[in-house]
């Protein structure tokens, strides 16, 4: 029996989430092997947020996020080859190996980057939405950030301007309960992030990211508000990261029991089970997972085999035209 369009769609979302999960697991391995340097922030556990939200977009819509950006980049269409090559610091990477884990950019897919300063990209995303309104191009901007960004000034200034100017943007707070090692209870006086929207006269939403279709539907409502009415929304998506803040973080600030409890709600398992129950055979799911595996292995091989950038790549990427010295 041919699966319905809905089921076909869900299996596509599952494939993307599974791809991100495998990319991140292999990133952790690459870090342990010394192929990836610097900071590495994994998206494992949060896949349903990025995949569900971006699934609600058109290809010409824009996305910006923080340094936890691999999953968002993949969901927006960045090829795994460009991502791994960037992580390995190779010139074939999306940013020629000059950006690294925290700075995944893919102009072709309107992935406008991962940014390393908490909250600093929020005004940028507002500017992108500003440009869409200025040009009347009908595009929507999604701006992802963690709940840790809610306390910084750029969050307030960005949301305040987006609401004042009625811009087509959706602010997505991926609340994974910890800003680095500090739990919500010790970082915010009011745990409900979405309440901040009230002060700006902005629409808000708040939900758990267990079900990727629910994320797609709820973000879709905000995207429609942005596209049809040029109005911003603040959406708080409750999620959980299964790994530490970065690779150097063993996450001793939370208990194993808490982690195990959250793992029971793993959006990947949930989606796989749903697919299975709705008639996608184990054989088909295996084939899908194998194709992801092949894609990831190909990307890693491509990254391994790629050349490093050279000093000659630096000046032309610093200035357009002659170097200003």
């Amino acid at each position: 029996m041919r699966p319905s369009a809905e089921l076909e769609h869900l299996s596509q979302l599952y494939r993307q989430m599974f791809l991100i999960r495998r990319v991140e697991e292999e990133s952790a391995r690459g870090y342990a092997e010394g192929k990836i340097g610097g900071f590495l922030h994994l998206y494992i556990g949060q896949e349903a947020v990025g995949v569900g939200a971006i699934s609600a977009l058109r290809p010409d819509d824009y996305v910006m996020t923080t340094y936890r950006d691999h999953g968002i980049a993949i969901a927006k269409g960045m090829p795994a080859r460009a991502l791994f090559a960037e992580l390995f610091g190779k010139v074939t990477g999306c940013s020629k190996g000059l950006g690294g884990s925290m700075h995944m950019f893919d102009k072709e897919h309107n992935m406008l980057g991962g940014y390393g300063i908490v909250g600093g990209h929020i005004p940028l995303a507002v500017g992108v939405a500003y440009a869409s309104k200025y040009r009347e191009d009908g595009r929507v901007t999604l701006c992802f950030f963690g709940e840790g960004a809610v306390s910084i000034g750029a969050f307030h200034e960005g949301l305040s301007l987006a609401a004042l100017w009625k811009l087509p943007i959706v602010f997505i707070c991926e609340n994974n309960e910890y800003s680095m090692g500090t739990p919500l209870s010790r970082s915010m006086s009011v745990e409900d992030v979405s309440l901040k929207a009230l002060g700006y006269g902005m629409e808000r939403d708040r939900f758990f990211a267990d079900d990727v279709l629910e994320v797609e539907r709820r973000i879709g409502e905000a995207v429609e508000r942005a596209r049809e009415h040029s109005l911003p929304t603040l959406v708080e998506v409750r999620t959980y990261r299964f790994r530490g803040h970065s690779m150097s973080d063993p996450a001793k600030y939370r208990t194993q029991a808490e982690l195990e409890e959250h793992k029971k709600r793993d959006p990947l398992h949930r989606t796989r089970t749903a697919l299975s129950e709705q008639g996608i055979s184990e054989e088909r799911l295996d084939a899908l997972e194998k194709s992801v595996e092949a894609e990831v292995m190909d990307a890693i091989k491509f990254a391994n085999d790629s050349p490093d950038p050279t000093l000659a790549d630096l000046e032309p990427t610093t200035y357009k035209g002659p170097f200003a010295y």
Partner: protein, 311 residues
């Protein structure tokens, strides 16, 4: 703005109020609220909005009521405007202009008197210009708007009342070109923005005392016009750099380093600097004048320089 619909002006009081210093007077009426946008007091917010809009193809002009207030938007300029091109491997560009009055005004105290160019000129990815004359204010601003990189235009509140010839029409002053504004043979005074006028005043005093000073108006601080500096010091063999801002590091130190490195054999004496004194700017009118670089301090410095090195 007439030439390119992608250009818009954004900042505090730029529209209905006609600009805190009337720089944008009449623009709202001419171009409308879509292209002349009043912002709330949110420098980090609207500086970032400008950078984001530039990344996707608009060409914003962001006004800071004064460059002092850019301090709260420093992250947007340093980490986003200057770096997005490299972080994206050259995929994204940031054709934005940040402009506003810089350095001292009159008795506005320590928090409103910063010479911010010294911070920004150190940052690769940015260009920084500082005009001293009306014609350059027009020509450099036009060049800045047409440049595909972030350009910071440092004006001066004390120069807004200076009058001068301004060429009609599409006059552009190329970024990175200094100008010899007074020829001389005994010493080169290097300045920009307000201190160009201080240097000219000092040169007039020196002339009466038989010392012929050449005055270079840098106009552009990054890129810096090494050629004009070296050619001048090869004629005069002495150099004094005059600028506002503190003596630790900065544009004067950069000029000194480059000139001694590129033209060591031409120098008869060390390069000296006349800067703002190394303290936060005081409110007291007398003390403020004493802190700022003045013609008499330039004259005294040149005389010290002339007294040595004629071996």
């Amino acid at each position: 703005m007439e030439r390119d619909g992608r250009v818009f002006l954004m900042g505090e009081e730029v529209g209905h109020y006609q600009g805190a210093y009337k720089v944008s007077e009449g623009l709202l009426e001419k171009f409308g609220a879509k292209r002349v946008i009043d912002t709330p007091i949110a420098e980090a917010g609207f500086a970032g909005v400008g950078v984001g809009a530039a990344m996707v193809g608009l060409r914003p002009i962001v006004e800071f009521m004064t460059w002092n207030f850019s301090a709260v938007a420093f992250d947007q300029i340093l980490n986003n405007a200057a770096k997005v091109r490299q972080m994206s491997g050259g995929q994204l560009e940031c054709p934005i202009v940040f402009r506003g009055p810089n350095a001292s005004a009159r008795q506005v105290g320590s928090q409103h008197s910063h010479a911010m160019e010294h911070f920004y000129a150190t940052v690769p990815g940015l260009k920084v210009v500082a005009p001293a004359f009306p014609a350059d204010a027009k020509g450099l601003l036009k060049a800045a708007i047409r440049d595909d990189n972030p350009v910071l235009v440092m004006e001066s509140e004390t120069l807004y009342s200076v009058k001068g010839e301004v060429p009609e029409g599409d006059q552009v002053v190329e970024l990175g070109k200094a100008q010899v504004v007074r020829a001389g043979k005994d010493v080169t005074l290097v300045a920009y923005s307000r201190t160009t006028h201080v240097a000219l005043e000092a040169a007039a005093v020196l002339e009466k005392e038989g010392i012929s000073a050449e005055v270079i108006d840098l106009r552009s601080l990054r890129p810096l016009d090494e050629g004009t500096l070296v050619a001048s010091v090869e004629r005069t063999h002495r150099m004094v750099v005059v600028h506002e801002g503190w003596p630790y590091g900065g544009v004067g130190a950069e000029v000194s380093d480059r000139v001694q490195r590129l033209a060591f054999d031409a120098l008869d004496a060390p390069i000296l600097r006349v800067s703002t004194l190394d303290v936060p700017m005081p409110y007291s009118a007398k003390l403020e004048l004493a802190c700022m670089p003045q013609a008499d301090r330039v004259v005294a410095t040149v005389k010290r320089l002339m007294a040595r090195g004629r071996a």
